[in-house]
Point group: D2
Chain length 334, copies 4
């Protein structure tokens, strides 16, 4: 961190800034020039509240040199992290496909899709029991009953399950029933929820918020990790831009960015990113080519009658065809 003092800064002001930083455990190096003084700040600068320093008397600007996160930072953990999920390893050069319907509708529906996806090569079953919906009048998911169906199908098929949590009060229940707890895009900065899941040891799939930067996303991972839970899987699912043709804009650059900045695994959700089933194949292939550790893909036995988001779901046959292409691609990538 570098603190540039104003030309007009007095000796006292410089001292006060220096003292405040030293009290926070930093080392401060004073570079006095003819016209301005520049303070070089060394130590765990992520612990320093940049905004607070920036408004002290005599400070012109504060420039971060280090990233503001530590546990999620590759600098302090050079090798890839691998998250172990009931026999499935996510990260570290593997390719894990998580597939399933948008919403859990019935045991029969879910079992059928799960078996079909497993046969095509999916390793994890996804399905929503609690659904975040923009309208209070829209279908909100089966709730606890949906969660029960998921666990029954897991028992039947042996596939670990990933499903979205929407409130802190369910953390215990999800810890018991789910294999991976998903934090949805709209809750990426629901800090209370992040703190709660940080108290568990469950793998957390943390979706990027619709308008959150890569740095904010990693800071939300840091919330979970600083609570003691290092089993975080990042999921890019599209950001909000001016383009309206696709539901969101898949930020493919986030994959190499996260790979460089962090050691955590990163997966991609091409179904929600585009909202268009015809694009899922192209985006899934692109994500793997860009280095993603996995994919989250919506598959429905009968997209035309799905209770939500049908337009972005694939049929089992389409999914099977994509899995063949992904395998061929993955072979050439490694």
């Amino acid at each position: 961190m570098i603190v540039v003092m104003k030309n007009s800064a007095s000796k006292e002001e410089i001292l006060r800034v220096t003292d405040a930083l030293v009290k926070k455990g930093m080392q401060v190096q004073t570079n006095k020039g003819v016209d301005c003084t520049v303070l070089g700040v060394l130590g765990d600068t992520y612990m320093v509240d940049k905004e607070r320093v920036g408004m002290m008397n005599g400070v012109d600007r504060v420039v971060s040199v280090q990233e503001p996160y530590k546990k999620a930072n590759r600098k302090f953990h050079p090798e890839d992290s691998i998250v172990h999920v009931s026999g499935v390893d996510i990260g570290g050069g593997t390719l894990t496909v998580m597939a399933g319907p948008c919403s859990v509708e019935s045991f029969e529906q879910l079992e059928g899709i799960a078996k079909s996806c497993r046969k095509s090569g999916a390793k994890v079953l996804r399905g929503g029991a609690f659904k975040p919906r923009t309208s209070p009048y829209a279908f909100q998911g089966l709730g606890v009953k949906g969660l029960d169906i998921l666990t029954e199908v897991r028992q039947e098929t042996g596939m670990p399950i990933v499903t979205e949590i929407m409130a802190p009060k369910y953390v215990e229940l999800f810890s018991e029933k789910a294999d991976i707890i998903q934090i949805g895009a709209r809750n990426m900065q629901n800090f209370d929820l992040l703190k709660e899941v940080g108290q568990t040891k469950k793998p957390i799939l943390l979706k990027r918020g619709l308008s959150n930067t890569i740095e904010e996303w990693l800071m939300s991972a840091e919330y979970i990790m600083s609570g003691g839970n290092e089993n975080v899987i990042l999921c890019e699912r599209g950001i909000r831009t001016f383009e309206t043709y696709t539901r969101n804009t898949l930020d493919i650059s986030a994959i190499p960015a996260v790979k460089k900045l962090s050691h955590l695994p990163v997966v991609v959700d091409p179904s929600h990113a585009s909202g268009l089933s015809y694009m899922v194949e192209s985006l899934a292939l692109a994500a793997v080519a860009a280095g993603a550790d996995g994919l989250l893909i919506e598959v429905h036995n009968d997209p035309k009658h799905a209770l939500c988001d049908g337009a972005q779901s694939l049929t089992p046959d389409q999914f099977d065809s994509i899995m063949h292409k992904l395998t061929a691609l993955k072979n050439v990538m490694s």
Copy 2:
């Protein structure tokens, strides 16, 4: 709502779509043309899940004509709603200024600011006890202790208080202690929290999310209102765009838009929108000129030593000067 069927749609497909809509309580008018069939859908169409209809066999596209919200809709409630807050009326042509520090730091600090703001004409005291911070290492607010300080200062000054809630578990506590419960931008689509505060009768200040459309914002108000709590105050606080000079981009158009679409009061937070104290006056005046029912302004006795966000806070003197200009402007506006 208008459903355009594909040219290739069969009679059976048209019937199935019609039946599904009729079952939802809609009236359906079939307009059969030479080349395509258009269904006019009448009734409470906000109850229809547009996405689900869009993916039925034979459907080309679904066009909304009505807004997807009802309780928040001015069409069904033409006169302005006024929210009554412990003696202060918000909405309906009045101008209510809510002022105070970003964070509650101590009784002395808050009392000093409160008295000063009240003297300048502020009607409501704002102050954060629970603070949403991007970094887990940054100051998170005094929590329950901060809430207690707020209530003590309310007793001292008679000013009702508005403060942010961050988790459903605190709804009861906030209902008891706060006069207005604030839902922050990052929680605008925390649907569980919306449902919980919808069960109370407390006035709710609902901030617009950083990347949420006006329609989504009104849908979140609808969540609260459909739960039984119609005391919703909307707060525009800037959206996220490519411009980095200001922290966010104040969407001034949201004021006339909300005024047309809804009967709910709308207030503006120029401090968070810009993050630059020098702009607060211009933006506050602009908001009132555009028709805002109130303002949320950060005031700090000593911005240079505030625990957060100092750069966007005003001194009591600056605030007093703005209040004079706002009064003159409000007089000419009405």
Copy 3:
């Protein structure tokens, strides 16, 4: 400008960076710390290509302290600039309203609107002769004939005219016929056109690009000014964001920002910013309250039959009513 060298930078690398900056006419102050060297760069740093320095060996990062523009910078020209347009002064605390139709359609149409707008208090007549249209099949304006109609109506009414130029080849013609040459949003970074109009002495109305930052906008003004033409009027007309309810998002903060950063006058176009005639009044009032030096408003005698953009045009009566409110507001603002 501050150049932070990498910890690993060698003496030779530091010397090479210093030499390169000195050759550009800068003074360089070397602040050697225990762990890193920081170079303070003084002089006309806007002449230094920041990117090029940033990629030299041993450089960690380059931090701008000064703005990258000089002629448009208020630091070097503290008092407001006033642009003189055929008897009308724009800037410096005045409020200039420019009104007229989106497109020039006929002499009769334009004359009628001009006289009506003049009576309501408009000082400048606006009207498009060359129209930028997204579709090659849409109406492209009357071209040179439209320009002729504008000059005839100017002769008739005495109102100076502002109209948009779309290609460098017309600069001479526009210099002769128009009072203010408008550079549209889509041409804000048409650098060739900027250079050409910079060779004239004509007042230039420079609209902000749909996705351009305030800094880029001022850099485009700098292009014109560095060519010798200091008669630049900036025009905020909305930026492109994720919000689709309004055509664009009026960036009201750009007004106080430009007023602080630059001495140039800034006007606002609420008609194009929103695309909704019902909002024009609110946005016009907000712009003036925020400190705008003027407004650009679309007025049409018969919006329902206008050749384009009718939905955003006002009737002469609506315009007259707004002018009354603007006058009252302006009185209280000064």
Copy 4:
């Protein structure tokens, strides 16, 4: 196109709208319901100015069903278009890599890079002679001299060249000297320039604007094609969003979108999209996996001393390594 009339629309208003559409050569089908009338419009609806219809008396809204472009539309040209460039075929399942420096600096520099890139498998040489720069004080390119160097190196190496044009007055010169004329992102809606290059038969590489939708991009292609020049290559180079880690956000979804909507070839520029050389490989692979017909990659012999944009350029060795991976990927894709 569907025109929904207001409930209150009179018979005369419906007739007037119908007449206006019929005069434009459309067929109009009137679907009269109990509550509203819906007009189905058939024919070359891209010729109808949607905005103008929308503001006619009695019209509630106009819904496009067809795309507003015809020549660029895959519906009217189902097979892939292939653009022939001096012996190189672009489009139709091939993969064409265009490589070279950001700016042409000297014959020696360009020749060295060209030979190296050709050896690695690049088919087209890219290099800027006229450079669009945000600052008037930054290096603007060698201009005509740069163009001459490009043609000399073409003669030497046999590689066709692509280079950016910035003003209509150079169209003749570029038609003579370049193999592909590039329209830069900032000029995507410089309609005058589009019309001029539409008069030639030269292949045009049309970059997507920073804040332009896919539809607007295809409309700009339509401008060129409707002028008679169907040799258009589309180039995705990143859009502007709130994310600041990368210079722009590569919109990978634009590739499958363009492939579905249009028959034109689409290439990707990962260098400008990210501005980060370490990402170029990942993004290039992703683009090919998503179906791109080619790539535009910046290569520099000595990125540390390049005159601009060094941070995004690759060394020849890095480029060679990427070409090997691209070849392996392309083999598995087809």
